[in-house]
Symmetry: C2
Subunit: 395 residues, 2 copies
C-alpha cells in the first residue's frame, strides 16, 4: 500500500462539492433507524441531470451499488474522483434520457461521498464535529430509502417515473416499491435479491473481518491517524474478495491467465501473478475514494437486506408492489444468480403486476450491469418509454 | 478466537506419532527445490493400510488436499486430531480396498502434520532446532512429488498400482504421471486442474493476504508466541474465503438460509448469521490442527501449479503421461469447474491414453470429493479393479 493513501477516501465538508446538492433531515428530532439506533441532522448528497417537468412527473431515481455514489454520470472533476459509474446509460439520447427525464442519484445513508456516514462529523453532542467512527449506528436498506424521501421532498417529486438500480441499488429499488407503492410508477431491479443469501452474507462477512483484522482500523476510530496509517490493507483485501465474485472465471482467464508480474525464474511467497496486481490496483484505487467504515456498514446493510423481515414473508412483501417492474438478470452472475431475479418476477406476475424479465447474456459476471450497457440500454429505454407513455395515471 | 488456541496446530517432534511413519531424504546433501531454494534433512510422514504384496505391485498412493494430512483413514486417536478424511473410501471392502491393496498417504512437503514444513525445526545451521518460519523456502507440487519418492523407496514400491487424489491431491497425481510415467500404472485425478486458473490464484491470494495482515503472524516468525497469540484470526479468514468456494450457494441456502445467531430485534455490526458462525467454527477448528505458514506455502504451491511450466505447454506436458487415467469432475464445483477436468481427459484421449471421465452429480460443490463417496466409490473401485486385473505389464 502506498504510504500516501489517505486514512479515508470519504468526501468531507470543506472538500469541493462538485455537482453535489444536499438534502437535510432529522434536524428537529432524531431519525430512528430500523435497527434501533438514532441519527440527528442527516445530510443526503445527490446529483441531478436534465430538467424537472412543471408537473413533476418526469423524475427518475437511480440508486447506486456498494461502492457507487451520486456521480452516476459525468466526467472527473473537482469533487468527483471517478467518472460517472453509469455514464454510458444516463445522458442526452441515452437509455436514461436526460433530454426527456429528470434524473436523480443520491449517495446512500452510511456512505462516504457526501451523505451522512461513519466518516461524517457528528452534528451535536459533546463530540460535535468529530467523525462518528465506531459510534455510527447500523443502517438498513429501508433506512436508505426513507432518507431518500427527503431528496424527493426538496425537489418536489411526489412520484418517481421510475426507480432504477443494480446490486445494492436494486435492493433499494425493491424496498421503494414495497415501502412507498404510491410514490413509484415503475421499478427496474437489476442483478439483486429479494433477500441476501447465505453465500452473499458469507462473502460480505469475510471482507468485514479482513477490515477488522487490520490494526490500522483501530476499532473504527482511525480518522485522526496520519496519511498511510488508515485501514487500507484490510479494505483492499475486502475489495479483492468482492471483486473476484463480481467478475467471472472466464474473464479472469481471458484477461490474466497465468501471466506473472515478477518473473518465475525463482519462486518467492509474495511474487505476484497479474491477477493479483490487478486486484491490488483496484484495492488501492478504492482506498483513495472510499471509507473502510462505510464499507463495513454498507455490506452489513446488504447482508441484512430481506424484503420479508417484519412483513410475513417474501411473497407478502412483494405483494405490496403495485408498479410495473423490469427485472434484469445476468447469465454469468454467480453472486446474484438469475434464479434470484426470476423469483421476483414470478411472484409479481402471479399477483398480476406487469413484470418483464430480461437476461443480459454476458461473460462478465455480476459487474455486467455496469459493463454491458449495450444490452442493458435498449430494454431499459423501451421500458421507460412505455411507462412514460402510459402516463402518471396508469403507472 | 478462543484465547486457548495454539500459535500453530502443527504436529511437532515429541508429539504422539500415532500411526505416522517417517521417510528421510536430503540427509547427505541439500534438496534443491524447483523454485531455487534448498532444504536439508527432509522428513516425510506417511501412513499405510493393508499389506504390501511380495512383488510390491499392489501399492496405491493417496495424495491429500490443502488441509489434509497422512490420516486418510481411521478414527481420532493420540496424534490424529481428526478422523480420516477419506475414511469411507479407504478400508476393508471399500473402494480403495485395503484387503486387496496396500494404501499409502504421505503428508506433503511444506505441510504441518509430520513432514518438513515451516513449523519444523531446522536440522542444521546456527538456528538448528528452531522452526523455519519466514526462512522456509517456497515449495512446488513437483517438489512434493519428488519427496514422495523417498516413501516409495523406503517401502520398496517401484511402481504404484495407482496414484489418487482430489484438488491439491489431484495436482500431485498429474505431476506423478508427468514426472514419473514409468512409476505409475494408473492415475485418478479428481476435481483439480492442469494449471491453476486466475480465479483460483485470486482466491488463494486473498487468503494469504489476510494471514499476512494479522499482526500475530509477525512476518512468519510467530512460533515463540504464547497460546492465543498466534495468527489464528488471519488463518480463520483465509479458511472462510476458501470454504465458501468449496461449497455451493444451494447448500448454504438449504443449510443456513438467513438464520441468525443473535436475534435481530436490534442491529449491530458484528451480529452474526448462522453461516458466519459456521465459518468461524471451522476457522477455529482448522487453527487447532494447522499451521498458518503451511497454509501460505501450500496455497502458493497450488497457485504455482502448472503442468506446462518448462515443458512447452499443457498438451506437451500431458503427452508424457502413459498411464490409464480416471478423471472425476463435480457438477457444482465452481472453484475447479468441470471444464478443467474434461480438458485433461480430452488431451489424453487425443494422444491415445485410455481416459475415463466421470462426473459426480452433486449440489455440494468442490468438497463433494470428500462428501459424495457413494458416487465416487463405485467408478473408482471398478477402475482400480480393472487396472489390477490388467496386471503390471499392461498398466
Amino acid at each position: 500500500m502506498p504510504a500516501t493513501l489517505p486514512v479515508t477516501g470519504a468526501w468531507r465538508p470543506g472538500d469541493p462539492p462538485g455537482r453535489r446538492r444536499f438534502a437535510r433531515l432529522a434536524t428537529d428530532r432524531p431519525f430512528v433507524l430500523e435497527g434501533g439506533g438514532q441519527l440527528g441532522d442527516i445530510t443526503i448528497a445527490y446529483e441531478t441531470w436534465g430538467e424537472l417537468a412543471a408537473d413533476g412527473d418526469n423524475a427518475i431515481l437511480v440508486c447506486h451499488a456498494l461502492t457507487g455514489d451520486t456521480h452516476a454520470a459525468g466526467g472527473v472533476s473537482a469533487g468527483h474522483a471517478a467518472p460517472g459509474w453509469w455514464d454510458g446509460l444516463i445522458g442526452p439520447g441515452h437509455a436514461i434520457d436526460t433530454d426527456r427525464w429528470f434524473v436523480v442519484c443520491a449517495n446512500v445513508l452510511g456512505g462516504c461521498q457526501g451523505s451522512t456516514g461513519p466518516a461524517s462529523p457528528r452534528g451535536s453532542g459533546p463530540l460535535a464535529g468529530h467523525p462518528y467512527g465506531s459510534a455510527f449506528p447500523v443502517v438498513s436498506i429501508r433506512d436508505m430509502v426513507r432518507t431518500q424521501t427527503a431528496v424527493a421532498r426538496d425537489l418536489g417529486v411526489a412520484r418517481w417515473l421510475s426507480v432504477i438500480g443494480g446490486s445494492m441499488g436494486g435492493m433499494q429499488v425493491l424496498e421503494w416499491g414495497v415501502m412507498f407503492p404510491e410514490r413509484v410508477r415503475s421499478l427496474v431491479s437489476i442483478a439483486t435479491a429479494a433477500a441476501a443469501s447465505a453465500q452473499q452474507i458469507a462473502f460480505g462477512s469475510a471482507g468485514r473481518k479482513a477490515i477488522r483484522l487490520d490494526p490500522r482500523w483501530r476499532g473504527g476510530d482511525y480518522y485522526d491517524a496520519g496519511p498511510g496509517d488508515g485501514p487500507t490493507e484490510g479494505l483492499s483485501i475486502a475489495r479483492s474478495i468482492a471483486q473476484i465474485t463480481y467478475r467471472s472465471d472466464d474473464v479472469f482467464t481471458d484477461r490474466f491467465g497465468r501471466e506473472v508480474v515478477e518473473p518465475l525464474d525463482g519462486f518467492s511467497l509474495w511474487q505476484r501473478f497479474q491477477v493479483e496486481r490487478y486486484l491490488e490496483y483496484h484495492g488501492t484505487k478504492l482506498a483513495r475514494r472510499f471509507d473502510a467504515n462505510s464499507y463495513l456498514h454498507l455490506t452489513k446493510a446488504m447482508d441484512l437486506h430481506d424484503l420479508a423481515r417484519g412483513r410475513g414473508g417474501i411473497e407478502e412483501a412483494l405483494d405490496r408492489i403495485s408498479a410495473p417492474t423490469l427485472v434484469v438478470g445476468i447469465s454469468s452472475d454467480t453472486l446474484y444468480p438469475t434464479y434470484q431475479q426470476r423469483l421476483v418476477c414470478e411472484v409479481l406476475a402471479q399477483r398480476g403486476i406487469p413484470c418483464d424479465y430480461v437476461e443480459i447474456d454476458s461473460r462478465h459476471g455480476h459487474d455486467a450491469f455496469i459493463i454491458d450497457l449495450d444490452q442493458l440500454g435498449p430494454p431499459l429505454a423501451q421500458f421507460l418509454s412505455d411507462v412514460d407513455k402510459a402516463g402518471p395515471g396508469h403507472g
